[in-house]
């Protein structure tokens, strides 16, 4: 049989893990694996949260993309023009056609500040910053070093966003940062969200709501930004409510890759409509999607991409054999959440189970505690950078951590069982 082609679009966390998994599972003479990305640097994106506060330095969170592409997998450094699902080809910017038998879309999502009036205006990277890009986080670090205080507003434009807890973590770390600089009294911190609260899940609201008050964070909820007035330095929402800022740290609208839109395959935010269990796209049966690029009702997070990569690898092997796509992704996510003061929480949840307390990964033993602030969790969060670079990006599994969420060790209220 002639060699067939698997093409992966995007060499970020999800695409790189898929390249490694599939390389281990498939024979070279049967399958040629190609991965395409226009970028040349692989960023450890959780590090963007720490960069503004000087906890990580630039060199720690970036490595060459090719470092993690396994031998025998071809890496093409190019922009992607579009996918032609009817012809089973990917068209590169130089009109070169890359044919595929199986396509995996792993092109992630990124910020689109230009979608909000006044966001990318004259104050952009002067008094308005993002920390969802390397450039933004770096510029914000320089700003914070010399900022003398005033109104700091941390803002979410619209859901869904990558790592939905990151803006809250930013607020907690900012509180800490200004305390250590001896200038917390000079800074008023306000958290502005389109949702109904800083925490929106019942258990988290009850258990963690106190953090907002204790850290003296002002809260503005149900705020949907219409525009930013650069003259008066105000966020203005569709209902007319205004929030003044001296320094705005915003999470702009997040969107999937433009080429997904150009290919006519995305929803209005360029996310690929995807079966939430099998990870097969709803576009065509030989197209799959993973990570931030999908329309899944799961968090856009590295742990999600990690668990999905194990499920998707199984399903691609099923697909090749003409079998039913038996592996089901359950929406499992597992994230450390920084709360400041060298502490962090650990949350573990899926499509159906909201984060609750308990022990992880060993029921009743831990050593990690769920939904409980601890220094061990903080060390876990910092230590994860090593695991990411040295274990995950090589397609190796983390011992005792499974793609399916376990209910053992979790204190799930009786009425939810």
């Amino acid at each position: 049989m002639a060699t067939r082609n698997i093409v992966i679009l995007g060499a970020g966390s999800a695409g790189t893990m898929m390249a490694n998994h599939l390389k281990h599972k498939l024979h070279d003479h049967d399958w040629k694996i190609t991965i395409i990305d226009e970028a040349t640097t692989h960023y450890y994106q959780p590090g963007f949260l720490f960069l503004p506060f000087g906890i990580y330095e630039e060199h720690e969170i970036q490595k060459p993309i090719t470092k993690f592409i396994p031998h025998g997998v071809e890496f093409i450094s190019s922009q992607i023009q579009k996918i032609e699902p009817e012809n089973n080809v990917v068209l590169l910017n130089n009109d070169v056609k890359i044919p595929y038998d199986i396509l995996i879309i792993a092109s992630g999502c990124s910020i689109a500040p230009e979608e909000t009036e006044g966001m990318k205006g004259k104050l952009w990277y002067k008094d308005i910053f993002d920390f969802y890009s390397f450039e933004g986080a770096k510029a914000l670090h320089d700003k914070l070093k010399s900022w003398e205080g005033g109104k700091l507003v941390v803002h979410i434009t619209e859901m869904p966003i990558k790592c939905p807890v990151a803006p809250l973590e930013f607020v907690f770390l900012a509180d800490d940062y200004f305390k250590h600089k001896g200038m917390r009294d000079e800074v008023e911190i306000t958290y502005v969200t389109p949702l109904s609260g800083a925490f929106t899940k019942p258990f988290a609201s009850k258990k963690l709501g106190h953090l907002i008050e204790e850290k003296n964070i002002k809260l503005v909820t149900d705020f949907n930004v219409e525009k930013i007035d650069n003259e008066s330095k105000k966020l203005i929402d569709y209902g007319g409510t205004e929030v003044s800022f001296d320094l705005l740290v915003t999470v702009p609208l997040n969107k999937g890759a433009e080429f997904v839109g150009r290919s006519g395959m995305g929803d209005e935010l360029n996310y690929v409509p995807t079966n939430k269990f099998s990870l097969q796209s709803l576009i065509k049966e030989n197209i799959f999607a993973i990570g931030d690029a999908t329309s899944l009702p799961a968090s856009k997070a590295g742990s999600v991409a990690h668990f999905e990569s194990e499920i998707l690898t199984e399903n691609i092997l099923h697909y090749i054999k003409g079998e039913e796509l038996k592996a089901h992704y359950d929406g499992h996510a597992n994230c450390f959440v920084e709360t400041g003061n060298h502490k962090a929480l650990l949350i573990d949840f899926n499509y159906d189970q909201e984060p609750v307390d308990g022990s992880f990964p060993f029921p009743g033993i831990g050593p990690m505690s769920l939904m409980e602030e601890s220094m061990l969790n903080h060390m876990g969060k910092l230590g994860f950078k090593w695991i990411y670079w040295n274990v995950l990006m090589h397609g190796r599994a983390i011992p005792f951590i499974h793609p399916q969420m376990s209910t053992a060790g979790k204190h799930i209220p009786a009425h939810e069982l």
Partner: protein, 103 residues
């Protein structure tokens, strides 16, 4: 928990959102709308409510942008129809969960 709306016992969560959509009907929606200060529901309100229910059925996250580009209404009008937090109020009246984050 349970709540008595117009003589019917309805299952709701702590914040008054229905937890069982099969119990939803238009009379219940009208009553919740009154309690939320939205007042009497007209055809525009009902069109938005149907749109949100449809999105929810399809597992699509509901956002302001989505409502604005729905063709059913625009964002300004959505605010006028359901003042002060239109997404959560319209969701509550439609008998579906409010938009949430992961935590």
């Amino acid at each position: 928990m349970e709540k008595l709306i117009n003589g019917a016992t309805i299952k709701v969560n702590d914040e008054g959102y229905l937890t069982d959509f099969t119990q939803w009907n238009k009379t219940i929606a009208e009553e919740i709308a009154k309690q939320e200060g939205v007042g009497t529901l007209d055809t525009k309100h009902w069109a938005v409510i149907s749109f949100l229910q449809e999105q929810h059925k399809n597992n699509t996250p509901i956002t302001i942008r989505k409502v604005g580009s729905s063709g059913v209404t625009d964002i300004k009008e959505f605010y006028a129809l359901f003042p002060n937090g239109p997404l959560k109020k319209a969701s509550k009246i439609a008998g579906i969960p409010k938009p949430v984050s992961c935590i």
